[in-house]
């Protein structure tokens, strides 16, 4: 029997050429959270964020929701951004919100690559996808997964 299970689902859309919009959901046997955030693509800066705490363990936990606004202005590309996120959002707020933001952030470049590959496939259906990916990663050294 599975005694503990956690699922994360991250979706990304591109409302304009400069912005990526994430919706992240994290559900496990104990917690349930959702994050919506807009990120500027060029420098990874968080432009807007909102969080929904659906299931939690203590009456103090909802105090973590306003702490999320600390993330506005943080960059997902600066050195040590994951550590900073865990400190500012996790420790001062909720570590599960921080986990979810971090997972959204890890999808930033993968989503950009996915979008680029889709557009390339529209023009060239028999594209060598592996080679396209290798070239894209070399052309985008900031790539992180």
């Amino acid at each position: 029997m599975i005694m503990f299970n956690r699922s994360q689902v991250i979706g990304a859309e591109f409302p304009d050429d400069q912005t990526i919009r994430f919706n992240g959901i994290q559900v496990d046997h104990i917690y349930s959270m959702e994050i919506n955030m807009d990120v500027r693509i060029t420098d990874g800066q968080i432009l807007t964020i909102e969080g929904i705490m659906k299931r939690y363990t203590t009456f103090v936990c909802p105090q973590a929701v306003p702490v999320l606004q600390t993330a506005v202005g943080m960059s997902l590309r600066e050195e040590g951004w994951q550590r900073r996120m865990m400190k500012e959002i996790g420790r001062k707020g909720c570590e599960h919100f921080a986990e979810l933001i971090i997972e959204c952030a890890r999808c930033l470049d993968q989503a950009r690559l996915s979008k680029a590959m889709w557009q390339a496939l529209e023009k060239e259906p028999d594209l060598d996808q592996q080679q396209f990916m290798q070239n894209w990663i070399e052309e985008n050294p900031e790539y992180q997964n």
Partner: protein, 162 residues
């Protein structure tokens, strides 16, 4: 508006008949599919088996992931794990997906042990519930100041000198 990218991740902890824990970590998104399986021996939480499979569009630099993950065998889930895993599986020749998978699997093991403690507390009310939470914190010092609920000024922490 359609979404242009979707990632699904699942981590599961299963108790085995020999007393060990099996952890299954799965990731699938538009480009990558990754599966990491760990077996963790109790009581010292040693990772005794680790396997990894990366498929679909895998960056070439990660092609050694199935061999790389073996480095984690013999490591114990506990304090200092983040640094140990980063050292063994991270770096320029490493694979960040494996680092994340192992750390998230370890976190799932901790939550596997936390779940029954919280479920016992659900039947309680008021002061009794608060006392149960405080007992949990005393037994898990890593929780102290780990989030807003366990900061020094939280009502939950009142009376605790940790």
């Amino acid at each position: 508006m359609t979404i242009r990218f979707l990632r699904n991740k699942v981590v599961e902890v299963t108790s085995q008949s020999d007393g060990s824990l099996a952890v299954s970590w799965r990731l699938t998104d538009d480009l990558l599919q990754a599966e990491i399986d760990l077996t963790v021996q109790l009581p010292d939480l040693e990772i005794v088996r680790a396997e990894a499979r990366l498929q679909r569009l895998v960056p070439r630099i990660w092609s050694a992931a199935p061999e790389l993950i073996k480095k984690i065998e013999g490591v114990r889930v506990g304090s200092g794990l983040r640094k140990i895993v980063a050292g063994l599986l991270g770096g320029p020749q490493g694979c960040p997906v494996l680092v994340d998978a192992v750390l998230e699997s370890a976190n799932a093991i901790i939550l596997y042990f936390t779940r029954p403690v919280l479920q016992v507390g659900e039947a309680m009310e008021g002061e009794e519930k608060l006392a149960n939470l405080r007992e949990m914190i005393k037994n898990s010092p890593r929780l102290v100041r780990s989030c807003v609920a366990f900061q020094d000024d939280s009502p939950i922490m009142q009376g605790l000198d940790l």
